[in-house]
Structures are given as structure tokens and as C-alpha cells.
């Protein structure tokens, strides 16, 4: 089968959880051919892959969003649209529910240049109508420029021609979801969405925190990403998520629950199950398998460890992972120096399986996660975890409905330092407690999170939708 995988901002340009998952996934599915459609931010990344592509990757089409504003050749569009097309364009501008087929027809089949529309009188007319109806108290210039910024990339993506394939498979909604839907429309092929995180919610959190979005326009940006999510939710044959809670969020955002399926992440259980527990010594070693990035909230981790080490001076924190954000990495090291902490080790990229032998338990302080593989791996290695309550961390540690195995660690609200410190203190207080929780963790990993199981479920999914 020829599968067109649409990837946004991850594989093969950056390292990280989703990228390595994707790499392993493609390598595993040797019976299929893959066409990669990658969406990057900047065309300077063209061809600069962090992974060696598998033999079954037969084609790569790279699309960069910065090219949306560089494209200067305009079309011969004369500015005429019928009333239903106008309605659809208006719905697009208002981030409501446009008729995407009409939009694909305009910008893809008829190749109306995005700039021609965004610089047209019609665009201003439609926007004025929307402002009169909904945004009378907002700065008109802000609405105008924000709407243009939002739409330029979407319209640019709509002009793209996707490679022919038997299935269009996106791993996120957003721009990737839009392209996958377009491919499915162009080649009349089934459409599949297998979400890791909930893209809409991740963008929402990012926008709410950001300072690059005008405060008055944040709601509009969020609405924009909801609109994009609804596009693929409404058209996909199947939509998967990594955990049950995510499935219900998908429903909440607008997906028909009937097409939602949960396929959890899986790991190579044996590799981790075989790791022996650490020999008891005078130290308690805590591991954090994370990349150095703000979203992982390493600073909170450092503060929490600082508090912990005052009560338990014989603890050591090992941060295992490469640097994603150089500035943030510098700030973290500076914080460690400021607090005068001696027992924090930034190891960089290491062999986690080997390093796990030195650890008693693990910690994850992320602000946002989906289903972190590092937690499952730690569980399989009989190491309990302290995590923030993001993604499906609680489900991993405490089990879903019908799972009565017990508690495999502590789950604390994100950025809640006191709660995290207490949880770690408890974990440090007793080796027996850690071993008991570790047993439960391993059992849960073995029951629900096997790599082979996951791959088989995806194989079945391909067969089901074709």
C-alpha cells in the first residue's frame, strides 16, 4: 500500500519523542511504501534531515510555510465568485465552518493565488461584514492584519498538489490535517488521523501563553485552529488518540466519537524489563528523560530538586536528553549555579536503557505531553514515576477504567512545586514503596503498552479504511 504521511514540524527535521516514534514506525511497516509530505517553518531546513530515511520511503515532498509570503507570481483571477463561494470564504475568514470543497476548488483546482484574494476588494468586504457582525469594538487594523496572517499559510497550503497515494495519513490536525484532507480530496482516497497530542489544545495553550499574539486576537487564533481541526475531524475515516481522555477531548473539539479509537503508544518491553534494579547505596538517583526545552519545565524540576535535596541531601538528579533550546539550556545551568546545587547532572543524549540501571525512579515536569514514552519505558524498567498531570500521565500511573493494578507513581498538577516536592520526598522516603510501585508499573506496561500490539493496531487500521 502507498501511504502518504503528512508531518508538521517534526520528523525528519527535529529529534524528539514524536520524531523517533515516526522513524521507528516507518521502519517497522516494511510491507508499505511511504510518501512523506513534510511541513516546515523555514525553507532553510530543506533537505536537512536528522534521520536516515528508511528504504520504504519512496518520495518526500517538502513544504515550507515561509514560502507562502515569498510567492509573488499572482494569478489571473478577476475577482468573481458566486454566492455560495462568497459564503464559504466568509466562513473561512470568520473561522467558522466553511465548505472546504468549494475552497479547494477555488484555491487548488482554479489556482487562485492567495495574495490575489487577500489583497482583493472582496476580502475587505467580507471582513468588514464580519467585523460589523462580531467585532465592533476591536481595532479594525488588528482584525485585518491578523486575518491575513492566519489565512496566508492556509491558502498557500491549499494551492499544493499532493502526491498520489492509497491513504492520506496525518499525525496531527492543523496544517498537516488540512494537507491530508486536500490529498484525500484530490485523489479520492481514505483519510486517517492518528493524533499524538491534541493539536488544537496545544495551540490553544501556546496562544494563551504567547506574547506574539495580540491579546484581543487570541480568541480568533484559537478559533482558527479549532476550524482546522474540525476540517479533518469531519472528513477522516478514522481518528485515533493515545489515551481515553484524549478521545473525549477530540469529541469535545468536534469529532464524531463513533470514528474515534484509542491506540496507545507501545515500547519494546523486553529491552526495559530486563534492566536490573539499582543496587542499594547511599544515594537516591532520580532520572528525567527529557529534551531541554521550556515545555518540559526544567526550571521547576531544578527548584523542586533544590527543595528535595535540602531534606534529602543524598539525592542526585540526572537530566538525560539533548538541548532543544540553547537559551533555555543556559538559563537552566545558570539557575543551578545560582541555587548552588551540586548533584544535578546534564548528561546530554545517552543510551537510556543502559543509564536506567543507575536510577531509582524518574520524574517528568512537563507543561504539556500526550503519552510520554519515557514514562512507559521507566515503568517497564520497574522504576516508578513522579509526573505532572498532563496528557495521559495519570492514566499511565493510576490506570484507566477496568485497570485495578494499582498506583505506579505520583501525579501532580503542572508547575506545582510544593506538590512535586512532596511527591518526590515520599518516593525518596522508602525503597519498599518504590519497588512496590515499580512492580505495578511494569505489569501495566506489559499489559497495555507493547510495541507489537500498537503496530498491529495501526496495520489493522490501514486495512480497515481502504
Amino acid at each position: 500500500m502507498r501511504i502518504c504521511l503528512i508531518l508538521e514540524g517534526c520528523y525528519p527535521y527535529v529529534n524528539g519523542g514524536v520524531s523517533s516514534w515516526m522513524h521507528n514506525y516507518i521502519n517497522e511497516m516494511t510491507e508499505h511504501e511511504f510518501v512523506l509530505v513534510t511541513i516546515g517553518a523555514n525553507s532553510e531546513s530543506r533537505g536537512k534531515f536528522k534521520y536516515e530515511l528508511a528504504d520504504n520511503v519512496v518520495e518526500v515532498k517538502e513544504i515550507f510555510l515561509n514560502e507562502a509570503i515569498q510567492s509573488s507570481v499572482h494569478s489571473n483571477w478577476k475577482g468573481k465568485f458566486n454566492s455560495s463561494e462568497r459564503q464559504s470564504l466568509k466562513a473561512l475568514l470568520a473561522c467558522q465552518t466553511p465548505d472546504w470543497e468549494l475552497l479547494f476548488d477555488i484555491f487548488n483546482k482554479r489556482q487562485v493565488h492567495p495574495a490575489d484574494f487577500l489583497e482583493s476588494q472582496l476580502f475587505l468586504e467580507l471582513l468588514t461584514e464580519i467585523v460589523e457582525e462580531n467585532h465592533q469594538n476591536k481595532s479594525f487594523a488588528d482584525v485585518f492584519h491578523t486575518t491575513r496572517s492566519m489565512l496566508i499559510t492556509v491558502l498557500y497550503l491549499m494551492t499544493q498538489q499532493l502526491p498520489k497515494a492509497d491513504i492520506y495519513h496525518s499525525i496531527a490536525t492543523g496544517y498537516a490535517g488540512l494537507l491530508a484532507t486536500l490529498g484525500s480530496y484530490q485523489h479520492n482516497a481514505p483519510l486517517l488521523l492518528t493524533e499524538h497530542g491534541i493539536y488544537t489544545r496545544e495551540r490553544e495553550e501556546e496562544i494563551l501563553r504567547s506574547d506574539w499574539v495580540l491579546p484581543t486576537m487570541k480568541r480568533d487564533w484559537i478559533q482558527f485552529f479549532y476550524m482546522l481541526s474540525n476540517l479533518i475531524y469531519s472528513r477522516a475515516n478514522r481518528v485515533t488518540s493515545l489515551y481515553t481522555k484524549a478521545k473525549y477531548i477530540q469529541e469535545e473539539v468536534g469529532c464524531d466519537i463513533e470514528k474515534c479509537v484509542v491506540i496507545s503508544n507501545g515500547i519494546h518491553y523486553e529491552r526495559f524489563a530486563a534492566i536490573p534494579l539499582k543496587e542499594e547505596d547511599e544515594w537516591i538517583d532520580i532520572g528525567a528523560v527529557v529534551r531541554i526545552a521550556p515545555i518540559k519545565d526544567i526550571k521547576t524540576m531544578i527548584y523542586v530538586f533544590y527543595e528535595l535535596s535540602r531534606k534529602y541531601p543524598n539525592t542526585r538528579l540526572h537530566i538525560l536528553g539533548g538541548v532543544d533550546d540553547e537559551d533555555y539550556d543556559r538559563e537552566c545551568h545558570q539557575l543551578v549555579r545560582q541555587l548552588g546545587i551540586k548533584n544535578i547532572f546534564f548528561t546530554g543524549q545517552v543510551d537510556v536503557v543502559k543509564y536506567m540501571e543507575k536510577l531509582d525512579f524518574t520524574i517528568l515536569t512537563s507543561i504539556s505531553e500526550a503519552q510520554p514514552l519515557s514514562v512507559i519505558e521507566s515503568m517497564a524498567a520497574r522504576r516508578p514515576c513522579v509526573t505532572t498531570d498532563v496528557g495521559c500521565c495519570r492514566e499511565l500511573l493510576e490506570g484507566d477504567k477496568g485497570d485495578h493494578l494499582g498506583v505506579a507513581g505520583y501525579c501532580v498538577p503542572p508547575t506545582y512545586r510544593t506538590g512535586l516536592t512532596h511527591a518526590m520526598e515520599k518516593m525518596c522516603s522508602s525503597r519498599d514503596l518504590r519497588e512496590k510501585m515499580g512492580e505495578i508499573a511494569q505489569e501495566r506496561a506489559k499489559t497495555y503498552y507493547l510495541y507489537e500490539l500498537m503496530i498491529q493496531q495501526y496495520r489493522d487500521l490501514y486495512l480497515e479504511v481502504t
Binding site: E119, Q121, L124, T128, Q136, S139, D142, R148
Partner: protein, 493 residues
């Protein structure tokens, strides 16, 4: 008139009792005085010949040389002046006045280089003779330099200095002409040389005014930066050229009519028509001055408010209110201008003809007829011109571009068509063209003002990019050459 609003605003902001009259005086001096002076010289020559001081042949030769110089320089200036004005406006808007003097010298070099070559070629094939040719060429270059210096003088508000410069021009012309006549140099050469010295003194004094106002160091590597504007604003160059062709082209056509006369070689004149044209064109100056005051000062405030409403945090309703205020101000200014022009034209046609007949200009019945036709034509042109200029404020040049091309084409073709009619109908071709120019400009303005938000905001490109075409490369090339040249000079010193 890049900076005239800038300078007038400074005067009006003083809020003294004399502010408004001073503003009128300033606008009049800067906009019309150089042309007026050229025309006054022509009128003086005509008067002198009628008072039997100059022979008809000499008169015609002097008139032809001056007329050719004026027309030729106005064509060339039409091509460059709007683009240079735009360059200066942007510099004023961004408060970057450090390279004004440098740009001034650069633009003078460019204008003389371009115009000097073209007019030089014409003179070489014109069979006018060596001495007259040299004088004609110098005069042409001085005219060209004078039109360009006016562009720059509009930035400064030392109107007294400008008045002094104009008086010095008249004085120098008279003194030098008298000296040459006293030492028995021929009348034609004496008068032409006198005028050349007069305009030279104007250029020196005007340049001195600019040097005083902008005592910055010259940056030779930026001397031709204004040329880069020709890539992006080439339509302005075409508009400027075509407007001049429309305005003056009919004069050239009439030279080859029944009333035209060959003076020497390729030099022709049509004394009845030329003189009448110069006199009639003076009647539109009132509306030009009125327009500059009312539009550039009163309208500019509301225009600025409207523009700022798009960069500020204004709601749609606030923007619409600013738009209403602005268009009302524009209409008010135009209404006043129309009244002024109407009164001036009516007075010119009624009282003016009687006065002209009484003056020693040799006015006859035919000239009276031309004068009436041309007064109406220039009145309409004056109004059309202010309508066209108003559209420039809103940045949509495409309409003005086609309008100016139509104006030039119709003016020339319709005048050619009148050559096949009775000589009494000469001038109707230009009248038809001005009517068309007015109608199209008005439609254009209506179209733009009915859709202002689109003109100012909606049609703005998503990404602004500097157009780097042939003029950009030419500017870089000349800047480099200037830098190398000035360094070599310094080295030798």
C-alpha cells in the same frame, strides 16, 4: 511639490494674523513664480518688439529659443519631478533630511545629463547656428535646473529668501542684457545672455538657500539614491511626462499649422497662439495656489487622522468617521477652488480681454478668440489637475496613469484634427482634451473615494518588497562611480 505642505504647515502653525496671507504668498512664489518669470520675459520681448525696439525676426528668434527651452525642459522635468517629489515626501515623512543636499546635487546632475543630451542632439540637427545653439542649450539646462530646484525649495520655508532670489533673477537679467547691449553685442545674443545670467543667479541663490538649510556633509555614495524610486514609481514618471505632453503638446502642433512660422531650421513659432497660451495659462494659477493652501493644509489634517486610524487601535466605526471627515474636507477644498477658478476665468474672459487689447502686445480678434477658448481650457485643466493630484494622496496611480496617457493623446490628436478646420477653432483640441481629462480624473477620484478603505488598507501587499530594477542598478553604479571619483580628487589634493 514634495514639501510644500510641510513648509506651509510650519507657517500656518504660527497662528498669527498674517499666517494665512503668508501661506498664500509662499505657495504662489514657490509654485508659480519661476514659470511666471519665464512667461514675463516672453511678454517683455513681445512688448519690446511692438514698441519697435526689436525687429520682428530677432523677436521671433528670441521667442522661439526661449519657448523651445521652456517646453523642452518642462517635458524632461515632467518625467523626473513627480518621482523626485515622491522621494522627498518619503524622506520628509520619515524625518530623514540628512541627504537632501546630496540628493539635490544628484538630481541636478541626472536632469541635466538626461535633458542636456536629448536637447543637444535636437540642437545639432536643428540648423540654428553655433552661437544660438550654445545659448539655447545653456538656457534649456538652466530652465531644467530651475524646475528641479523648486522641488527642493518647497521643503524650506524661507520664502523671503526665495523672493529675493527671484528679484535677483529679474535684476541680473536686466543689468546683464543692458551691459551686453551697451557694448554693441547683437540684440538676440544680448537678451539671451542676460536671461542666462539671470537664471544663473537664481540657481546660485537657491542652491545657497538649500546649503544654509541643510548644512550636512555630502554623501557621494548616496547621491543617486533617488533613482531607485524610478523602478517602483515609474508610473509617476509617465504621468508627469504625459501631463506635460497634454498641457504643452498642442502648442507644438499649432507651430506646424497655417498660423505657424518657421524661424530658423527646426525652430517654429505661432506668435498669435503661443502668446495667448502663455497669458491664458496664467488664469489657472489662482486655483493652483488656492488648492495648495486649502488641500495641503486643511485637508492634510483630516487625511493624516484617517491614515493614523489604520495604524492605531480604531474600530471600524471610528475609521468610517475619520473617512467622512476627510472626504468632507476634500469636497470643501475643491468647492472653494472651483469658485475661485470660476471667478478668475469669468473676469479674464470679460475684463481680461479688454486689458490685453489695451496693452502693447498686438492682440487682435483672432487672439481674443483663442484667449477665450484657452481660458476655459486652462480653467478646466487647473481643476482636473487638482482632482488628479488629490487621487495621488490615496496611492492608486493606475487610474491617473491611464488618465494622463489619454490626456496627452487626445490633446495632440484633437489639435491635429483642428488643423483641418478653420484657424478660429485652434485651441478646441486642447479644450476637448482638458474636458476629457477632468471627466476621467473625476470618475477616478469618485471611484477611489467610494472605496477608500480598500485603496489605503485592503490593496496593500502582504509583503512589501523593494523593487530592484534597472534604475536601482544604475543608482548603485553611479553612487560607486561618484565615490571613486571624489576619493581620487581628494587623493590628488
Amino acid at each position: 511639490m514634495a514639501g510644500i505642505g510641510f513648509a506651509i504647515n510650519k507657517i500656518v502653525r504660527g497662528k498669527k494674523l498674517t499666517s494665512k496671507p503668508r501661506a498664500f504668498a509662499y505657495a504662489s512664489i514657490v509654485t508659480v513664480a519661476p514659470l511666471l518669470f519665464g512667461e514675463l520675459v516672453l511678454l517683455t520681448i513681445y512688448s519690446l518688439s511692438n514698441l519697435a525696439k526689436v525687429t520682428i525676426t530677432d523677436r521671433n528668434l528670441i521667442v522661439a529659443i526661449i519657448t523651445y527651452g521652456l517646453l523642452g525642459s518642462l517635458f524632461i522635468n515632467g518625467f523626473v519631478s513627480l518621482v523626485i517629489s515622491r522621494y522627498l515626501s518619503d524622506k520628509i515623512f520619515s524625518r530623514d533630511l540628512s541627504n537632501i543636499l546630496t540628493s539635490y546635487l544628484g538630481s541636478q546632475f541626472f536632469s541635466v545629463f538626461l535633458g542636456g543630451i536629448l536637447y543637444g542632439i535636437f540642437l545639432l540637427i536643428s540648423r540654428i547656428g553655433f552661437i544660438y545653439g550654445v545659448l539655447a542649450w545653456i538656457l534649456f539646462c538652466e530652465f531644467l535646473l530651475s524646475w528641479n530646484v523648486i522641488n527642493f525649495l518647497t521643503i524650506i520655508n524661507d520664502y523671503l529668501g526665495i523672493v529675493k532670489a527671484f528679484f535677483a533673477t529679474i535684476l541680473t537679467t536686466l543689468i546683464m542684457s543692458s551691459i551686453f547691449l551697451l557694448i554693441h553685442i547683437s540684440v538676440v545674443v544680448s537678451l539671451l545672455a542676460g536671461i542666462i545670467f539671470g537664471y544663473a543667479s537664481f540657481l546660485i541663490l537657491a542652491t545657497n538657500l538649500l546649503c544654509q538649510q541643510f548644512p550636512n556633509k555630502l554623501n557621494y555614495d548616496q547621491m543617486f539614491n533617488f533613482l531607485k524610486y524610478f523602478d517602483k514609481h515609474w508610473k509617476l514618471a509617465v504621468i508627469g511626462l504625459c501631463t506635460q505632453l497634454g498641457l504643452l503638446g498642442h502648442i507644438v502642433v499649432i507651430w506646424f499649422s497655417q498660423i505657424g512660422q518657421q524661424v530658423r531650421g527646426l525652430f517654429y513659432i505661432a506668435p498669435y497662439y503661443d502668446l495667448t497660451v502663455f497669458l491664458a495659462s496664467l488664469t489657472m494659477l489662482a486655483s493652483t495656489v488656492q488648492f495648495i493652501i486649502s488641500i495641503e493644509v486643511d485637508f492634510f489634517k483630516s487625511y493624516r487622522n484617517y491614515y493614523l486610524s489604520f495604524t492605531g487601535k480604531c474600530t471600524l466605526q471610528e475609521i468610517r468617521k475619520a473617512e467622512r471627515d476627510m472626504t468632507e474636507s476634500l469636497k470643501k477644498g475643491m468647492k472653494q477652488t472651483v469658485w475661485v477658478q470660476l471667478i478668475v476665468t469669468l473676469l479674464s474672459i470679460s475684463v481680461g480681454t479688454s486689458i490685453l487689447n489695451a496693452l502693447p502686445l498686438g492682440f487682435n480678434t483672432t487672439m481674443n478668440g483663442y484667449f477665450r477658448i484657452l481660458c476655459v481650457a486652462y480653467a478646466i485643466y487647473g481643476l482636473a489637475n487638482i482632482v488628479a493630484l488629490s487621487t495621488y494622496y490615496f496611492g492608486n496611480l493606475t487610474g491617473s496613469y491611464w488618465t494622463s496617457i489619454s490626456f496627452a493623446t487626445v490633446s495632440i490628436l484633437a489639435t491635429v484634427a483642428t488643423l483641418y478646420t478653420n484657424t478660429l477653432f485652434y485651441g478646441f483640441g486642447f479644450l476637448i482634451a482638458t474636458m476629457l481629462y477632468f471627466i476621467i480624473s473625476w470618475i477616478n477620484l469618485e471611484k477611489i473615494t467610494s472605496n477608500l478603505m480598500y485603496q489605503i488598507l485592503g490593496r496593500q501587499p502582504i509583503v512589501f518588497s523593494e523593487k530592484k530594477g534597472i534604475f536601482y542598478r544604475f543608482a548603485i553604479f553611479l553612487n560607486k562611480k561618484m565615490l571613486v571619483f571624489t576619493k581620487e580628487v581628494n587623493y590628488e589634493e
